[in-house]
């Protein structure tokens, strides 16, 4: 019983770790952020994630499709993210992966919106009936003002005030 509890704890920890490996049907998928990623990214920065899909079995695996998914997990704003907007690669396909071989892929993306996100790599192959997914990697994107108030406020207040001043000056001159 204690052994079962330890296994469950280990599995739970693997699920929420920053990087890890998942394994099923001879394939294993690992995912980790690149070391060059900014430690506290903000909107506009670029991140990349490194995945390795390895055939740990004894037989070749054919028809592999692997793709990246991104979900926002902020409370009340949970949603899948359209990766086209984030300039991310969508999928890699490999016809045949021999035993011991690996597909190494870097998945770059441009951070478009602030929030808390989880990224995961999923893979299917021709033989297996199910899906294999990597452990997710979590990251947070800091907000960056899209419209900067220090530029808008002087213009928004300055121009009407300048025109109003011109009107008042004309009235004062003509009186």
């Amino acid at each position: 019983m204690n052994m079962l509890r330890v296994v469950l704890i280990v599995l739970a920890c693997a699920g929420s770790a920053a990087a890890g490996t998942a394994q099923a049907g001879g394939l294993s998928v690992s995912l980790a952020p690149l070391a060059s990623n900014p430690s506290s990214p903000q909107m506009g920065d670029r991140l990349a994630f490194h995945s390795v899909i390895r055939n740990d079995g004894a037989a070749p695996v054919t028809g592999i499709i692997a793709w990246i998914s991104l979900v926002q997990v902020d409370p009340g704003r949970e949603q899948p993210v359209d990766l086209e907007d984030w300039n991310a690669h969508k999928a890699v396909t490999v016809g045949n992966l021999a035993p011991g071989q690996a597909i190494v892929t870097d998945w770059p993306m441009r951070l478009i919106q602030s929030g808390h996100y989880r990224v995961v790599i999923s893979a299917v192959n021709r033989e297996a009936g199910g899906l294999i997914a990597s452990p997710f990697v979590e990251f947070a994107v800091r907000r960056k003002p899209v419209v900067e108030s220090q530029r808008v406020l002087p213009v928004a207040f300055g121009i009407p005030l300048a025109i109003a001043g011109l009107i008042l000056w004309r009235r004062w001159r003509s009186s």
Partner: protein, 250 residues
């Protein structure tokens, strides 16, 4: 000095130098300011929205310019008639078309001022994003014929209608209908009716070109279809204003 330029300077000068004209410019700048402040207060904008806000501002500037041209165009003929100054103007030795072009020149001056007024706003909301210079260029190149076309429309209607009120009302209805792409997103214009409306509407042509250049980063030279539709509309409105003005002069 050329009488046509003199007339254009008089018409434009009335807007820029009179208290009423400056009041209009104050109101137009206040609208742009409110729009800018609304954008600043929005914390949900993503980086994708940066080009969108420049596109929205470009559309708003064009709509306000067209509104200005409609008001000036209605006043240019129907207003002159109501004030009893149209007949003396017609009796001057100036050819009718030159009078018309002089009046349009005044609208062009007013639009130029409006455009220059809008540039700081475009810079303020779009300087951190993409295609700002292209946005300024496309508004100048495509916004100008759209604005002038509405000026011609109002002058043509003013020559046919008895008073300013009817002219303004009809012109504003056409302007509101044309400017509906500002309110209706592209998805609502995907029906057959929407596509036909987009094809013949100069405002849609301008907005679609703004979308392509500002948001999708396409080249201005790839917007020949939209530019053609806008210029065709400008030519049609010039013909309408010219023929209406000749008829009013008889």
């Amino acid at each position: 000095m050329n009488s046509m330029i003199l007339l254009a300077r008089k018409e434009g000068g009335e807007l820029l130098m009179s208290g009423r004209g400056l009041g209009w410019l104050l109101a137009l700048s206040a609208i742009l300011s409110v729009f800018g402040l609304l954008l600043v207060s929005n914390t949900e904008l993503s980086l994708l929205d940066n080009a969108q806000v420049v596109y929205d501002m470009a559309g708003l500037v064009t709509a306000l310019g067209a509104l200005l041209a409609v008001v000036m165009g209605a006043d240019a003929v129907a207003g002159e008639r109501e004030r009893g100054t149209l007949v003396p103007l017609m009796l001057t030795p100036m050819p009718r078309n030159r009078i018309l072009l002089g009046k349009v020149g005044g609208q062009l001056i007013a639009w130029s001022v409006m455009y220059l007024l809008a540039l700081p706003y475009l810079w303020a909301v779009g300087s951190t994003g993409q295609n700002l210079a292209d946005a300024m260029l496309v508004v100048a190149l495509l916004g100008t014929p759209v604005v002038l076309a509405f000026g011609f429309l109002a002058m043509g209607l003013g020559a046919r209608f008895a008073g300013v009120r009817g002219t303004l009302l009809t012109s504003l209805i056409v302007l509101l209908l044309s400017a509906s792409p500002l309110l209706l997103g592209p998805s609502l214009r995907q029906s057959v009716i929407g596509k036909v409306f987009d094809a013949v509407n100069p405002f849609s042509g301008a907005m679609n070109a703004y979308d392509a250049v500002i948001i999708d980063s396409q080249a201005l030279s790839a917007q020949a279809l939209h530019i053609g539709a806008i210029l065709a509309w400008l030519g049609l409105m010039l013909w309408f204003a010219s023929s209406s003005f000749r008829r009013a002069a008889q």
